[in-house]
Symmetry: C2
């Protein structure tokens, strides 16, 4: 089955915005057994949109187009598709009513130009939009004049704003796709998320024991980013659940010290979950990560029950004032040192009353390195009710990668120490 | 001129990674007057890559392909392109030498499979890679057998890792493109970055005064994200500098209270620049933004000279311990209140010794709202040497957007207060 994705938007082509739809939609589909075979981005011009839709319809069983359904003069997709497929547009009373109510609830008059969003091509299925005014549209192109086969294709059009597109996709497009394109056989997919081990070591550990299963059709994929390697297992067929279960057992067995979670769960979410379950609290003392640890942890709903305080102490004075690091320790060892990391963690723990505290002090760069402590040197401290440990790492990356990788190592240090 | 971008990677199609190349390359090209007309992403399979390259060569004057130049079995682009264009591959001694040295400097033996990266199609220009082993390749397809015109096309192949691709693009591809495809006339582009004003108000303010210039060929574009609206002006032609200068004068005149910077500068960078120039220091007291403010500011090199301390105080106890917020204030008004925001800012300023302090306390949600203070309510405090102000905002967004928008408002409150 061929699935193609078309993202429209002049701002995409000018590099003004990041195409987050591509990753999100590809992942949603892949995890349900539908792999996008081609993604295209084009500007909001009639010629480009018509050409891209026409081309996709020559090849794909399912075409998903995003954007171009709004009320402005840039929003051409609905009209162009109706014309391309020779479908008449009619105003849908229920949509018009929804649009009116949308503005009523906000105490605003309905702008006349938003009325165009109630236009529906003949035969299209309307996908309701509880978070906006433009509904999505799905239509079967049968017969499909563009395809040499000539098999029918489905064309789904979704609104551009992510907070409208995402729930619409999950709630209405996924069930539609699963109904129209049922998987011939079960599809099972599982992702293991690891940290603290490089990609080559992950491959060396599990490639061999999984070789036979891969030869027999198991899909095995790796995705590495700084501080993070994912292992993805997938299988199609009646025995897919058993095969993924068996492969998962092997992966877990070989990689369990490094696996912190599954599927879409990130390390901070896993950690907040574990700490909440154990009713444990945390404090942070950050120097070179500059609040990255606190920011990541507080992105997780429920973090407030766990994170009592985070201290970002760049200056020596702040380390002394807020964490009680001693002037002598700073003078004797420097701010980037094992003893300072230790005192930062212990100070944060004692002063906040938390069960655990993490500390980070290092040299993010680009300047500030020395022969003994090059740029990228970092000390990560963990104070627990029973002891304090400090881990030394070298993360010679650009500033933002340094912060993310160091934060990942700190979170992992705590994860491994949990009782 | 038609420019097409091809991003290869199975992980892209499975939604495992975000395609940041697309935005970055599109922006780099657009800001120099070259607009990407189509971007395609496909998996790392021979059939997909060959089809995508062949199709792009039927249309485009310049084709840029990313990925597929590494040493593994997934890296097919170099071979496929050589075969498609009938160019012989030869080992380049200088590249081989570079690869050897790359491993030597790291004290590692050169893996034999990395040798393939020294293969160069006949006639290709080698683009050196100081940050990795795989060089980029550029070649002129002349005659171009795929184009109906039949004009020649250029094909540029770049390595996938961003820290290799980006400097290579800036240092070698941009000069090459500017030499091969000189702009017929000057191209000038300027972006104004605003915050604190909605997109519709920006448009209402400048659309009318710029209407005549737009009719005469000035490009005017808007890009809105939460807490941020960019205005982009561009012009081609001999009088482009004068036209963009005149339009810039109008935009600055009408929007100056909201403009914080230009082109790629973000608000935190502008603020660190302004504070550094004035030798002023800053402290932060964050509750609901949870370190987002500190994280954003410390992404800016040089932030350590400005940011003395950041306190992330989620709990009431932490607000009292680290900031000196009074128990009576918390009891009388609640943690999300004007008086608490005031005491947080003043406490952070006094205790850190900074010139300014920003505080944030609010309800990020999804839970915790009330009729009087719904989810999204936030109080932002600013303590200065002479006074303290508190601004109340309502940011009813998802958790991460809430944090970003609130941080943006806090940074802007400080920006506007600078002497």
């Amino acid at each position: 089955m061929k699935v193609e994705l078309i993202n429209t938007g002049t701002e995409l082509m000018l590099g003004r915005i990041l195409n987050t739809h591509q990753q999100w939609l590809c992942r949603q589909l892949a995890d349900r057994g539908y792999v996008v075979t081609r993604q295209v981005a084009i500007a909001d011009t009639a010629l480009d949109i018509e050409q891209a839709v026409r081309e996709a319809l020559t090849r794909a069983d399912l075409v998903i187009a995003t954007g171009g359904l709004g009320p402005t003069s840039d929003d051409l997709t609905r009209d162009l598709v109706a014309r391309l497929l020779g479908r008449e547009l009619r105003e849908d009373a229920a949509i018009l009513d929804h649009i009116r109510q949308f503005f009523d609830r906000r105490g605003r008059a309905m702008p006349e130009r938003t009325r165009v969003q109630a236009q529906v091509p003949a035969g299209a299925i309307v996908l309701p939009n509880p978070n906006g005014t433009a509904p999505g549209l799905a239509l079967e192109v049968r017969p499909n004049p563009f395809r040499p086969d000539p098999l029918p294709s489905w064309l789904v059009m979704l609104p551009g704003p992510p907070r409208e597109l995402r729930p619409m996709f999950t709630d209405t497009v996924v069930p539609l796709v699963q109904r129209v394109f049922p998987q011939d056989a079960p599809f099972v997919c599982r992702t293991f998320r690891t940290t603290g081990i490089p990609e080559s070591a992950v491959e060396d550990t599990i490639d061999d024991p999984l070789r036979g299963m891969v030869a027999a059709g198991l899909e095995l994929g790796y995705c590495a980013r700084p501080g993070q390697v994912d292992v993805r297992l997938a299988a199609h067929g009646v025995d897919a659940p058993a095969r993924v279960r068996e492969a998962s057992r092997i992966v877990t067995d070989r990689l369990h010290p490094w696996i912190y979670g599954h599927d879409e769960e990130d390390l901070e979410t896993a950690l907040i979950r574990e700490l909440t379950a154990r009713r444990l609290t945390l404090a942070l003392a950050e120097s070179c990560t500059g609040g990255c640890l606190a920011h990541r942890l507080t992105n997780v709903p429920g973090a407030s029950a766990v994170l009592l305080a985070g201290l970002v102490t760049y200056s020596n004075e702040a380390k002394q004032t807020f964490l009680g690091v001693r002037a002598e320790t700073l003078a004797a060892h420097g701010a980037v040192s094992e003893p300072v990391a230790r005192e930062m963690a212990e100070g944060a723990r004692t002063r906040s009353g938390a069960d655990f505290a993490l500390s980070v002090t290092g040299i993010a760069g680009p300047s500030g390195g020395s022969a003994e402590k090059p740029v990228g040197t970092v000390f990560i401290g963990l104070a627990t009710p029973s002891s304090t440990v400090v881990s030394r790492q070298l993360n010679p990356y650009d500033r933002e990668t340094f912060k993310q990788v160091t934060a990942q190592q700190a979170l992992d240090l705590l994860r491994r120490a949990l009782p």
